[in-house]
């Protein structure tokens, strides 16, 4: 098996890029799991079994990262040795913060019952659209090597992704999940 610290893109045999072919990743993932899943080592000794659990876990981690746009973006930035854990307020920019505040106010202002479903759906479409734009910009910035721009786009994506998650939770609360 490939080294456990191997680059996720290399592991799946695809070029390192934000734009990925999800269909292809899925296929490669299934091929690799078919080889390295612990069930393939049911006969092996304890050490081999443990190694299989670790390899298979790593494969799952890699797949999970590559198929999620926000995780993929974060991963690409760390491959460029950028620290994404610690955020400097100045990196975010006033425009981003203002936009976030407006969107959040819109979400909080909705009524707490089912009548808000239409509004939630509209808000969801709006945020999804914005997120897609940021993803495209991120992809371009990375390809052109504009790393600090890409990092800013990443933070914007992170905000919007979190907001989208909150909109979904709001929907679920109103639908009685």
């Amino acid at each position: 098996m490939q080294k456990i610290s191997q680059n996720f893109f290399d592991l799946f045999g695809i070029p390192e890029s934000f734009t990925v072919d999800l269909e292809l990743i899925g296929e490669k993932y299934r091929d690799l799991q078919a080889k390295f899943h612990p069930d393939r080592f049911a006969h092996a000794d304890e050490q081999e079994k443990l190694a299989a659990v670790q390899q298979s876990s790593y494969l799952n981690e890699a797949f999970d990262t590559l198929v999620s746009p926000i995780k993929r973006a974060a991963y690409i930035l760390t491959l460029h040795n950028l620290d994404i854990e610690h955020v400097d307020q100045s990196e975010l920019g006033m425009d981003l913060l203002m936009e976030q505040m407006q969107l959040r106010e819109a979400l909080d202002g909705l009524s707490k019952d089912e009548s808000a479903m239409m509004e939630l759906s509209k808000l969801k479409t709006e945020v999804t659209g914005k997120l897609q734009q940021k993803q495209q910009s991120f992809s371009l910035d990375i390809d052109k090597g504009k790393l600090s721009m890409a990092k800013k786009r990443f933070y914007e994506m992170q905000f919007l992704t979190k907001l989208l998650k909150e909109i979904e939770i709001n929907e679920e609360q109103r639908l009685g999940y």
Partner: protein
């Protein structure tokens, strides 16, 4: 006459390279065992031809546990000592058992720890793990009798929604029963395998699994032999039993006007309710008659009584679809599993929600065991895996307790397993050498709303100033859905020692102790069996010789008769001593001293026989 080997039609005798492995569906109400025979997977019947083993165990003083149909029959007459639905007790605290036990069926041993309850029976205190092990032992015996060999491993199914403690206890039960677990397999995944293997289907399948006591829904994506679970959800406290209870409560109101009933009466009423429920699966309405009361119940009335339960199942389906980001239109097939899905009301609700009728062509009681049997055949190496693979998920989020009793999620639910996630922790005080971690499972924000899994204590952290030591803790969930924790101090690379205290059930030492005891008992049991066999053999021989002397005593000289008679006396003395070895020895001796007598009798009788028949007849009989 040479002995004929008798085998069931459809089964081929195992070839030498074939390793014996089974799939076990350890159910709340019934259990099954399946194995691969000649390229197919079949459910193994008991000697009476029954496939379902009722998951009921009766404990009587000083005798081995009674498992299955006999115990089920005893449940009404002897409810105190008969354990039903033990699966519902796995991983539960005493209070939880009491709260869910509305009829007061379970008598708990008050001397036991709140988090590791045991049931009082006529044969002492029994832990739910032990009761489960007794059911497993009955299944192992069935399989080993049938396959004429020792099992090398088993795949045991568990509800997808089982938490870590429930899974761990299922594994412990297998260990106690002396069974090697190849894999714990989620029940809906197993059922999907049973349905998916024959077809080259691609697409999204929902498995709706309503068993006796648990409810699971899984959404799987099938692609080129790989079964990938996208999301799973359920309720480990919802099952066919609950429909019985609702009906029994209604009957109690009709018959006794809500008067409080004793345990015996409740058991009887519950048994009756269960029969009515089964009849309503085939009939529009059923005539009721209980004690001196009579009435009628229609299928529609019954559905109305159970409306809340039915709605709970559909709500879970919605949740699972949402978790997998799928809509009803994305679902290609719905598979029904578990005996309770025979209820027409359930089928109707599922058809309505998904907008298409579910698949029901495999017996809903058997699908899970068949899927487990397939997986067992592959894991033991009897069947080529090709591209076949099951990728499952963890059903509940795993998290740790942080400041303010809040939960920080480390591995969210529906993450494909196996999975490992690492988290870094630091020391809080100068020179701190130990750290405590509380791991919980569940979706809620507060620790008290989640299920406590275990307390981990990390020791041996090198003393440093506060915040300097960095402990990297890796949470690893294996393919069985079981958690283990590894901790390492980053600056020194030293592995921290971890002590695990499971929050529910017994710790490793208690299990070890139980295992030791069971081995001792197994030895006793074996000796007892050897003694019984030796006794039987000896008395059969003595009877035969006595009968022979009566007829042909004249063939013996006085001296020969004395030798035989003294050997019989010695054997009788050995029988009194109750040692199987000694009995064997004396039986052998008697055999030896009487062999000449037996030979003479043979000559005499064959001679007589031949003289009485024509040569032709003898020739014929030899052909």
């Amino acid at each position: 006459m040479s002995l004929l080997q008798i085998s069931e039609p459809g089964f081929e005798s195992p070839v030498s390279t074939h390793r014996l492995a089974v799939g076990i569906d350890l159910g709340t109400t019934n259990s099954l065992v399946a194995t691969g025979c000649g390229g197919r997977v079949e459910i193994l019947p008991d000697l009476d031809g029954e496939y379902l083993l009722p998951s009921v165990v009766q404990y009587r003083k000083g005798s081995p546990p009674v498992v299955g149909e006999k115990a089920k029959a005893a449940a009404v007459a002897d409810p105190e000592n008969t354990v039903i639905s033990v699966k519902r007790l796995l991983g539960k605290s005493a209070t939880e058992i009491k709260n869910s036990d509305t009829v007061g069926r379970y008598r708990l041993d008050s001397s036991r720890d709140e988090k590791a309850p045991a049931l009082l029976t006529a044969n002492g205190s029994r832990d739910p793990v032990q009761v489960s092990a007794d059911i497993l032992k009955a299944l192992i015996a069935r399989a080993e009798d049938f396959l004429k060999g020792k099992l090398e491993g088993a795949v045991i199914t568990v509800p997808a929604y089982f938490n870590d403690a429930q899974r761990q206890q299922t594994r412990d039960a297998a260990r106690l029963a002396g069974l090697k677990v190849l894999r714990l397999l989620n029940e809906p995944t197993a059922a999907a395998v049973a349905y998916g293997l024959d077809s080259k289907d691609q697409g999204n399948v929902v498995v709706f699994d309503l068993g006796g006591g648990t409810f699971d829904v899984s959404l799987l994506s099938l692609k080129k032999g790989i079964f990938q679970v996208l999301a799973t959800g359920g309720d480990t406290a919802l099952g066919g039993d609950d429909f019985d209870n609702v009906l029994a409560e209604w009957l109690s109101l009709q018959v006794f006007g809500g008067k409080k009933l004793d345990l015996g009466e409740q058991s009887k009423l519950l048994h009756y309710a269960n029969q009515i429920k089964h009849q309503l699966s085939d009939l529009e309405s059923v005539e009721l008659s209980y004690a001196d009361w009579s009435g009628r119940l229609s299928h529609v009335q019954f559905s109305t009584l159970c409306e809340d339960l039915i709605n709970r199942t559909i709500k879970t389906c919605r949740r699972v679809l949402r978790d997998a980001s799928k809509s009803v239109g994305d679902i290609d097939n719905i598979v029904m599993v578990g005996g309770a899905t025979r209820m027409p009301a359930i089928r109707a609700a599922v058809t309505q929600y998904f907008g298409k009728p579910p698949l029901t062509h495999i017996d809903p009681d058997r699908a899970v065991a068949i899927g487990a049997g397939v997986q067992a055949e592959i894991l033991i190496g009897n069947k080529a895996a090709n591209n076949f693979l099951l990728l499952d998920v963890n059903p509940l989020s795993l998290g740790i307790e942080t400041m303010g009793e809040l939960v920080e999620k480390i591995i969210p639910r529906n993450t494909t397993i196996p999975v490992a996630r690492a988290q870094e922790f630091t020391t809080f005080k100068d020179g701190q050498t130990a750290m405590k971690l509380h791991v919980v499972q569940g979706e809620r924000e507060l620790v008290s709303d989640c299920r406590s899994l275990a307390h981990f204590e990390l020791r041996g952290i090198p003393p440093m100033v506060a915040g300097a030591a960095k402990v990297r803790v890796t949470f690893q969930v294996d393919a069985d859905g079981l958690l283990s924790v590894i901790a390492e101090e980053c600056s020194t690379g030293q592995t921290a020692e971890i002590q695990v205290k499971p929050s529910y059930g017994l710790d490793a030492d208690s299990i070890e102790q139980m295992l030791k005891l069971s081995h001792e008992h197994a030895h006793e049991d074996m000796e007892l069996r050897a003694l019984k066999e030796a006794q039987l053999e000896a008395s059969q021989l003595m009877e035969a010789i006595d009968a022979a002397i009566e007829v042909d005593g004249g063939l013996l000289t006085k001296e020969e008769a004395r030798v035989i008679s003294s050997a019989i006396t010695e054997l009788k003395q050995a029988l009194d001593k109750e040692s199987s070895g000694r009995i064997h020895e004396q039986t052998e001796k008697l055999n030896k001293v009487s062999s000449e007598f037996a030979a003479r009798r043979m000559d005499l009788h064959i001679g007589k026989g031949l003289r009485g028949e024509s040569i032709d007849a003898v020739d014929q009989s030899n052909k």
